[in-house]
Symmetry: D2
């Protein structure tokens, strides 16, 4: 059975495991005050061309999202997010649990937010009986595989700066976003255009871990204490740093992202050739075929996937996801199997 | 230089790393809904003789403490804890950040809570303008190395039940508590006498991870959603389960605890023989020598340790901690070195 | 200038002031443990035919909404509300500030929620990575003047019970809802069909104050402590009780509501006769005329009102509100003035 | 029976009621955006010689305390308070419910905080695993009747400024503090020495209401939205302003405080003459006699009072409180009655 359900089903890339094994037995200082963490943070600052940035490692994406957002905001401030944003639809109310309202912006198709979707929310919230919008949450790639161009992110960034909003970019799937054909952004661009973003490890070769880059110096004070308070400080902090060193030192991170994207694009092209349309044309490692409902039982036997929603009365949109660990052969064989099915 | 600063300075026991390596490459279901997690939970239920228990794995101690406490309480309810409790003194206000007040009980010397310290707090809180005490937090071992006997824990448990309080036991250092000479408790006892407790992995051989055992069925509903909301669900949940399987299947967990205790006790005995008194007589892996202040600079060169506080004008209490990874030879050589110093 | 901006622009009905004056000088027990509070609570229980109910007085509507909701819910539970619900659009994120997510249901036109709008939300939230919907918030009247019939509320109540949801009814404008022609509900019906609701005083003759009726005994425990914690216990609790006694003892409350409704309906009829259409046909004290944009500057001189939103490129929906204190003559003269304008 | 239980047992001074009656019937703008509120805020700014101050009216003391504190702090910041502080002992965990830890400082006898009690807490909290102390909470008068001198408050203020701490003064009983013989502070001094303080109305002649003065401009942004979010914006905001205008325009506020202090001091002197010692020598409207236990049943028949605590095996400390409404004759007759008892 082929595994296309998600991109966090395999522990980690062998080089990551090797790196973890290499430090085993050493006595290391706790809580991220160790040399590995320092080294990984320095490397990330260099890759981002952002010497002023604070780099903080956390274990997972939901944690990184709400800890950052809640650290940056005052209690009456709120978050503008696409309706489809991960913070709205997949994190069990984590942001609201820290006391902050989400203001939902409509984002057609690819889930990418635009200034046009932000401005009416700002207008409405001039009413002092409402919360003060203060942070814009986006992700790259989006939940439906959308990838921001430099022009789009620059426009968002400008809109945010002009309106006193922080721009926060969830990079849980940054590895695939950055290696997709649609991308023309660099880490240095992100460091310049956002107030904070993170480089996701969990979904791109690490056992676990996200590297948060707080670019805006105003947002750096007190972060460690808050992270500790939210249970987001790993006692053995170096375990995260060591993984990011393995992934980022020689570009492994982007090689893994590229592989996942390539396999997904191969799948998408193949399925389209078989006459299966897509909900959106995704340039990343997540694709969204619309399949006839009577194909689903056969697909169930063939592979692990997720139902995304009803497309019409007789069709269902499904999500297929690839990862660094998905063999290209799986995609090849899967396409042949589907061809035989249809 | 000898490392006696803490018990979380080494990544993990080699067998734990082997176990992690063994599953690498497999496609596994996410979020703890996988067979390894099921297997580890079953094993723990069996070891605890508690088939009704819910077992939840989390990454670290602070997280396990506040997620549990906040999941169990209504917003107006509060927590009775020793002043020296980890939740009060080392977790950056994590419990209060979930909205719950800590009510501080005095616990002389070894940090162990007693019914006598609880009852006056209950009396005072009959006043409806105060919070409702609802949960008693203790840890075994305590922050100063105290270990609860079965008689003591039974008395606490009875007091809690009689007063409608939940009893929660932080077992971050359970491995050393249970292998100390002072202990006569079993996991089955804990499951019977507490409403919830956890088996700490981070400080006893695991890379990271705590296994929370929710013994009281009333406290089990909704826990997963809350854990998710608090960023405490690891996407690759099996990584924690696999470590606990390695530690608990053949008793490795307790062998590692025993080793740490043995080395610490050897150190404690040796230092006492050298005329160095202890703040408390600790039966576990943490000891608290009172040393002359002029010895400190030499100690700084000799080993990593923590200053615990001033003992008097010319003496300082320090904390020495051993772990599964502390060689007995280190203790032997250290004692010789100290002997030469004094 | 006529005042149609809102229904809380006049302090209170003279009889309420008299009642407050009558107790001035007395020494009364604080925090709502006084005989007046007891008497008012008993009266409300009797009017509601709900001897089991707990009655709690609070100062204002936002406070009553979030204190109730947060008292009733566990941290991972969420609230289903119409998009147009007061808790969503006018309370500065008060519910989210207590940690609970709002799940927004579409309610066409009159703002009334139906089982059909609830069920898909429940379906989606079976996913354990989402919050658990647990409370349905509605208001009677709604923000756009909608009034629930007994059949509609019974259907909602049944849907809630069948799905383990609490039903909470915001009665900030209950006086006008209950005296509108569209109403066939009684206080006893509310007590039977909801888990909690409140009788709004602020917008119906009281200086301030809402009387929360917690019908469901399971939701009553600990409420006072939580109310205190949220700053919602008035030191001189009797001040609220005395006002509700004045309003409810002889039916003054409903006479005042009736007056406001009558004046608003007179206005609505008159404006329709003048050819001015309504956004919705409202049976209560709030009406929503759609006026040509060039009329607005003249209206600005004529009366105080609120802009509700753009109706089309050349028309604007406005809101006119009447209260117990709006003279019928104001409505008469206003209609003549508008006739002369158009 | 004499009423010495508290200073909030009588609704309000007749002039306050007259002022409320005088505006009844008027149409006024809501939520504190009305001319009365503007006028009262201007008056308070003038009395405080603080043109930069923001003045915010709220209904009660607990509300004013936690809304202010939570508005001023970031989530990882904490509050230093005397153990005996109202926020710690009487507000049902309201501050913790907003997520902030209280750090308890010992204050012998009169409950007054000193730099000496603050500094060790700051020292301890240099540890980044703890919260960041950021606000010092004091009250004038304290819970045991202590009154700060200008020298004492200046020292505290200096200590706070030097250590980056906000100084917040709870003035629930400011009327009595300022009219006690121990006082040499003015409102202008408070405005200069604190970051925020409030002038308590509830316990000094108003029906309800506290006037918060936010002296530090850095703390003013966003306050209204947060106040709204916390249910602390009164729809009919002018009701609070009108009361403060009545109290402050002609010095009535301080006359009422003076009366309460005079009666309490008369009581204190008289009881001491009868050989009854005091727990502390209080210069305000609260006194703390230590009475033989066998006198208590007779006192119960004579007057309403509060038990403060056991003094020794055979004596109890009680609290007697006077207010603007306590007749001097009550004190005279009470003393005669006590004389007859003993």
């Amino acid at each position: 059975m082929y595994f296309f359900r998600n991109d966090y089903s395999v522990s980690c890339h062998p080089k990551v495991l090797e790196a973890l094994a290499a430090v085993n037995g050493e006595n290391v200082v706790g809580y991220g005050f160790d040399p590995y963490t320092q080294q990984a943070a320095d490397l990330i600052r260099k890759l981002c061309n952002a010497p002023q940035a604070d780099v903080q490692f956390m274990v997972g994406g939901t944690q990184t999202n709400f800890v950052s957002i809640a650290a940056f905001l005052r209690p009456w401030e709120s978050v503008i997010t696409p309706v489809t944003g991960h913070v709205n639809g997949h994190e069990a109310g984590a942001v609201e649990a820290t006391g902050h309202k989400l203001l939902l912006a409509r984002t057609p198709g690819n889930g990418k937010l635009t200034p046009a979707a932000i401005l009416p929310i700002l207008e409405e919230c001039k009413d002092q009986h409402l919360t003060q919008p203060k942070l814009v949450y986006i992700s790259d790639a989006t939940e439906t595989g959308g990838v921001y161009t430099k022009a789009e992110l620059s426009a968002l960034s400008y809109c945010c700066k002009a309106n006193g909003l922080y721009l926060f970019l969830d990079g849980a799937r940054l590895g695939c976003a950055f290696t997709s054909q649609a991308n023309d952004l660099t880490l240095a661009d992100l460091a310049q255009l956002t107030d904070a973003f993170y480089i996701g490890g969990t979904k791109n070769g690490a056992m676990m871990g996200e590297a948060l880059v707080i670019c805006n110096p105003e947002l750096q004070d007190g972060f460690f204490r808050f992270k500790k308070q939210q249970g987001a400080v790993l006692a053995k902090g170096w375990l995260l740093a060591v993984q990011f060193l393995a992934l980022l030192q020689d570009g492994l991170y982007f090689k893994l992202g590229q592989h996942a994207v390539d396999v997904a694009q191969y799948l998408q092209g193949g399925l389209k050739n078989l006459g299966i349309p897509m909900l959106v044309d995704s340039p990343t490692n997540q694709i969204f075929p619309i399949v006839p409902d009577d194909l689903l039982p056969k697909l169930d036997e063939l592979c692990a996937y997720e139902v995304w929603g009803k497309a019409d009365n007789t069709h269902t949109t499904i999500r297929l996801v690839t990862s660094f660990a998905t063999p290209l052969e799986d995609a090849e064989h899967f396409l042949m199997d589907v061809k035989n099915l249809t």
